[in-house]
């Protein structure tokens, strides 16, 4: 099972900041995640799509640079989900 890590205020909607979730790709992982943490659905999605400024990474690489929510996930992968973040930038 892949390890899913939640950051920022997403932790407020989950039982734990870090959970092991089954799934063959990111879409399946999210589906499982929402089943065990229903509050995350509205926090993360808007009209069925990931909200602007929210980032999902797999092993430190943004899924946008891979296959998006169809990015394949392996057993020991680490998935990180970030809400909008800002600091020291323009």
């Amino acid at each position: 099972m892949a390890q899913v890590k939640l950051f920022g205020n997403l932790r407020n909607y989950a039982v734990s900041p870090q959970v092991d979730i089954p799934g063959a790709d990111i879409a399946a992982i999210l589906q499982s995640l929402f089943e065990s943490n229903p509050g995350l659905y509205d926090a993360l999605l808007e009209d069925g799509k990931i909200r602007p400024y929210y980032r999902i990474m797999i092993n430190g690489r943004d899924i946008e640079l891979a296959d998006g929510i169809h990015t394949q996930v392996n057993e020991i992968d680490q998935i990180a989900i970030f809400p909008p973040i800002a600091g020291g930038q323009q």
Binding site: K5, F7, G8, G60, D62, A86, G87, G88, Q90
Partner: protein, 592 residues
Amino acid sequence: MEGWTGKILDIDLSSRTIVEKSLDMEMGRLYLGGRGLGARLLWDLVGPQVDPLSPENVLIFATGPLTASGVQTSNRFSVSTKSPLTGTVMDANSGGWWGMQFKRCGYDALIVRGKAEKATLIEITPEGTALKDAANLWGKGVFATTAALGQNNNKRNVLCIGPAGENLSRLAAIMNDRERALARGGPGAVMGSKNLKAIVVEGSQKNRPADRENFKFMLYETGKLIKASPLTSQALPEFGTAVVMNVVNEIGALPTRNFQQSQFENADKISGESLADSILVKNQACWACPISCTRISRTKKGEGEGPEYETAWSFGAMCGVDDLEAIFEANMACNDNGLDTISVGSTIGCAMELAERGLVDTELRFGRADLLVETVHDIALRRGLGAEMADGSYRFAEKYGAPELSMSAKKLEMPAYDPRAMQGQGLLFATSNRGGCHMRGNMLGPEVLALPRLIDRFAYQTKAGIVANHQNTSAVVDSLVLCKFTNLAVSVEFFARLLSAVSGMDFKSDDLMKVGERTWNIERLYNLREGFSKTDDTLPNRLLEEPIAEGPSQGHTVHLAPMLEEYYQFRGWDENGVPTLKKKTELSLDFI
């Protein structure tokens, strides 16, 4: 006052003369204020080879045409000088209330020259400007000095140095409103070298807009944009900047133990999330700011501002420390002594590696949270090993035969991003005019957070234009002078419309971007005149030659040479990084 007051206060501490001069409005139009105006004035006032700690150096405190207008975040100001740490042109930028109050005194800028015979303070009130004896304050910390001089956020504001500046530490900051900092590059030492302890301001004038109706409309629209952006209405108010810690760590870009690693195993313990769950008391805003990113924290040792991301990193991962209380207390010690937290933490991290390699005899080791506060005091007071650390990591490491272990660019300690994991950031650090600095166009946005859109952080072709544009934009914001966080929600076009409404002059976004590019180029020309060259546009060997050993950024180094070549071309400079005559003419810099 419609944007500019048209007046500059010029004080010579040697002759004790105080003169009001006119601001050349053509200069105002070309450079605006803040950093841009500071760089232009510095070009004229501080020639080549001036010792930064001599009376011939100057301090230029500058506001911008939007300062004190009521535009969101229009509280900021800058100080420009020749840096005693780097020898480059230097400006540092601060928030709080002092800048607003200084503008209310009726001046666009204050130039301080010479050297007072003994400890002195400057007091500017509606009754006039006076030089007063400050002997009873010399030796006092920033907190005690600020209180003694009657700090009252909205009415009377204190800017001062602490023991670090008095002892001419090249890492010394100038502090305002107790805990805001003009930190990088050692401006506090310049102030200390002039025997100038404090500048107190009480003003009464207003920066009224020329086009009141348009201004009200633009103010309202700007407020709506800031409120609508989750970055400025949620992320920053809720968690502050330290929320960046985990994402930078996740991608393998968090410099750890003096950049020996790029992930810190306990990053979450020193993150914004952990801060919110532990020592955080509340958030706080500067004058006219709706974003409210400042953290107020408390431990048994006291309550105060911070820690920000950079400070949580510099005393945290950089030193192998995961104790948030110790980090906050080191931050408070820096604030009270008047020290740059990035440079101090990084210098301590450098000392820790030197110690572990057996090159320096000290108890400092990675993870020694218990030694942080004491070491900060040692640096401020030039005590023991602190006397050598007080001049920054490069001079310290060089003394012990290992200058390559100073994680600095142009001797300014680099901030909390490993450029091997973010190629554009590497180009930024190497080319920044004031040295290793992220605030001149941070590539965190495009390379990590997809702001405005995501680019591959490992790619090193075609990064030059993005970096240069970010640098120019940062110079615009620094010259207006506004907080860069507004730029997360508000475009340069909006800034142009705000400026037009306040000043009654017609500014377009292209005009502002030209100001930014002009500022960048005059800074570059200043450094070239000082003897800097293409060989100084570089990074430590560790980042160029040693691949990251493990983690998501494993195997990467900074591909600087091809990026630099592309960058010079994009900038319109020759192959040695010198602005061409064509570029100088385009930017009205052909007088140089």
